[in-house]
C-alpha cells in the first residue's frame, strides 16, 4: 500500500526518530511510504490555545497536501485527533464550507499508527524484537478522542523479548496538554509527578506511548530527576528488530 506520512511538526523537528521508525516499520511490512514536503503542522497548538483564525491556513495546507493520498499516517494520537475532530470545525467557523468538506474527507483517511496497523493493515505482530521492560502510557487523545483502545497494547504484546508491565492509573493525563504545560506549569508538573511515580513503580526501563508530545513531557521529568528511565515512541519499539 502507498502510505503518506504526516511526520507532525514535533517529531519532524525534535523527535525525528519516531518519524524515521514509522517509515522503517511500514517499509519492512512491505508498504511504500511517501513524505509530502508541503506538510508542516496540523495547527492543533493554535486551535487549542484559542487562535482558530491563525489555524485556518494550516488546516487548508494539511487538506491540500494530503488530499492526493488514499491513506495518511501520523505517529501521534493527538495530531490525528485534531485532524479528525477539529479541522472541519475550524473551517466551518471561518465560513469555508468547501474546506470543511475537504478536511473531513482527508480526515477520514488519516490514521494514528496503531489504528493503521491493526484496523487498516490488519497486523498485530509486526515482527519486532525489543528486549526491555516496558510500560505503556495511553495518551489522552489516543484514548478518549480516537478511542484506539488496546490496539497499541496488542501490538506491544507481540513484540519478542519485550516484558510489558501495566502502568497504574494509566488512563490519567500526564499533565502535558500543549500550552497548558507552560500556562499552568505548576499544575502540569504536579500531574507529571504522579505519572512519574506510577512509571517508576512499574520498575520499567522504558516508558512508551503513541505521542511524542506526552513523551517529551514525561521524559523531561524523568530526565530532570535522573531516574534512568527512558521514554521511547511506540513506533521505535515496533521498528526494532534483532538486527537493528
Amino acid at each position: 500500500m502507498r502510505i503518506a506520512l504526516f511526520a507532525t511538526c514535533l517529531a519532524d523537528t525534535l523527535f525525528p526518530a519516531a518519524a524515521k521508525a514509522t517509515v522503517q516499520l511500514l517499509e519492512r511490512l512491505g508498504h511504500e511510504v511517501v513524505f509530502p514536503v508541503g506538510q508542516t503542522c496540523c495547527g492543533q497548538m493554535h486551535i487549542n490555545t484559542g487562535y482558530q483564525k491563525d489555524a485556518v491556513p494550516l488546516v487548508r495546507r494539511f487538506a491540500r497536501t494530503f488530499a492526493p493520498y488514499d491513506v495518511v499516517v501520523a505517529p501521534s494520537g493527538s495530531c490525528v485527533g485534531s485532524v479528525r475532530h477539529q479541522h472541519a470545525m475550524v473551517a466551518r467557523a471561518a465560513g469555508d464550507d468547501r474546506l470543511a468538506a475537504r478536511a473531513d474527507d482527508v480526515a477520514s483517511r488519516t490514521y494514528e499508527l496503531s489504528e493503521l496497523l491493526v484496523d487498516v493493515l490488519g497486523v498485530e505482530d509486526v515482527g519486532a524484537y525489543y528486549p526491555h521492560r516496558v510500560t505503556y502510557h495511553p495518551t489522552c487523545h489516543s484514548l478518549r478522542v480516537l478511542r484506539v483502545g488496546d490496539k497499541p497494547l496488542r501490538l506491544l504484546r507481540n513484540v519478542r523479548g519485550l516484558d510489558l508491565v501495566e502502568l497504574p492509573a494509566a488512563e490519567q493525563c500526564c499533565g502535558f496538554g500543549g500550552t497548558f504545560a507552560v500556562k499552568n506549569a505548576d499544575t502540569s508538573t504536579a500531574m507529571l509527578a504522579d505519572k512519574m511515580r506510577h512509571v517508576l513503580d512499574t520498575g520499567a526501563d522504558v516508558c512508551t506511548a503513541g505521542d511524542a508530545s506526552c513523551l517529551m513531557h514525561i521524559g523531561g521529568g524523568l530526565s530532570r530527576l535522573r531516574t534512568g528511565v527512558r521514554t521511547v515512541h511506540l513506533a521505535e519499539i515496533l521498528a526494532s528488530t534483532e538486527s537493528s
Binding site: 508542516t40 487549542n48 495546507r61 496538554g177 500543549g178 499552568n184 506549569a185 499544575t187 500531574m191 523531561g220
Partner: protein
Amino acid sequence: MTTFLGMPATAPRGVGHLRGEEPFPAAARAALANPQLRRNLGHATATIRAKSAKVIAELPDWQELRSAGSALKAYTMAHLPELLEQLEANVSAAGGVVHWAADANEANRIVTDLVRDTGHDRVIKVKSMATQEIGLNEALEAAGIQPVETDLAELIVQLGHDKPSHILVPAIHRNRSEIREIFLREMPDVDPTLTDDPPVLAAAARRYLRETFLSTKVAVSGANFAVAETGTLAVVESEGNGRMCLTLPDTLITVMGIEKVVPAWRDLEVFLQLLPRSSTGERMNPYTSMWTGVTPGDGPQGFHLVLLDNGRSAVLADEFGRQALHCIRCSACMNVCPVYERTGGHAYGSVYPGPIGAVLSPQLTGVADNASLPYASSLCGACFDACPVKIDIPSILVHLRNEVPHPRSEAAVMAAAAYTMDRPRLYAAAQRAARLSRLAGRRGRGLPPPLNGWTVGRDLPEPPKQTFRDWWAKR
C-alpha cells in the same frame, strides 16, 4: 413595535461568587503547595470515582440513558421560554408564587423581602448552588437575617468561615481532624470532649441542627429539577436535612436557575437514574423530595419560587457554549479531573469549580472576567466521558479559548508561528535555526519567558542532529 434590547446581560460584578480574586495559575500554585489539601482531595476523589464506576457498570443501558439526558436537555434549552411560562402557570395554579430574578441582586432582594415579610430573622437552608452563586447568605446577613446551612458539609464550610470547594461535597478539602477543630471552635454548645470519629462528628452536627429545624419557620432551598408539565419541584439529597427544611417550616422559598426546568414528569425517570450514580455513586439518592405548590394543612403554607437568570440567557445565546446549561450538578467531571484533583475547587475562584466551572463561570460572567479558566484544563477529555448528560466540555473549553482576550505578546508569537508554518521553506529554516540556538545555549538548559514554565520541572529534549525532513531529503 419591537425594541432591540441587545445581548442578554451577564452576571453582575460585586455580588455573588462567580469570580476569583486571582487568575487560576496563581491560585493553583498556592493550593498545590498544601500537602494536606493534596492528600484530602486525592483520597476523596479516588473514593468517589471508584464507587461511581461500580454502580454505573451495573446499568446495561447507561449510554442510552446519557443520550436521553442529553436530548432532554437540548430540547429544554430550545424551548426554555415556553417551558418556564408553563412552569409558572402550574406552580401558581397549585398555590405557589413565582418571582423572576434577572440577576443576583434582584434575587437577593426578592428573598430578603420575602423573609422580612414573615417577620422572622432566621432561615434554614438546604444545600443549593444557586444561592451560593448569588451570595444569598451574605445578603441575608446584611439584612439582619441569620442563614443556617443544614447540609453537613455546607455547615462545616459555614462554621469554618470558608468557601465551598466542590459542588456536591463542599468540604472535600477538609479532613475529619480539621472538621473537629472547626466544630470545637464554632458550634454553639458543642461537647468539649468531641473526637474526630465520623459518627461522633455527625452526631454533634445532628444535635445542633435538630434544635434549629424545630425552631425555624422559614426555609430557603435550591432545586434539582422543576417539572413544567405539573409545576412540581424536586430536591435530591442524602442526609434528610432537605426533607426537614422542605416540610417543617411555614414558609419555603426556592431559588432555581432557569435551566433546571424539565418538560415532563416522566423525564425525571432519566435524571433520577443519572444523577445519584454519577454524583455520590449511589443507585438511588436516600431522599427525593417533591412538592407541587402548597398542600393545605400539610407542609409549608407559603411557597415562593424565584427563577434566576444571572447570565444564563447570555449562555443560552451561544449556540455551542449553551451545552454548559445542561449540567445537572452531579460533580462527576470534577471527580475525574486530574487538574481539580490537584488544585481543589478554590483555585477556580467560583462556586462552580472543576471542568464544568471552567466552561460555566466564564460564560455567566462574560469571558473577560474569567479569562484564565478556559485554560485550566489539559483537555484530557475525562470529564466528557464522565458527564451523565454528555456535555462536550473539552470542545467548549477550546471554543471559549477562542473568545477570551489574548495577551498581545502571545498573539504575536502565535501569528508568527502560523505564518512560518504555512511556508515550508521558511519553516525548515526556522527548524535549523532553533536547533542551532539550542545547541549554543544548552548549558543553561533554560528557555526564555514565557516558555520558561517548561523548565520549572522538566528537562528539554536533546536536540537531534538532523530534522526528519533533512534525513528524508538525503535518503
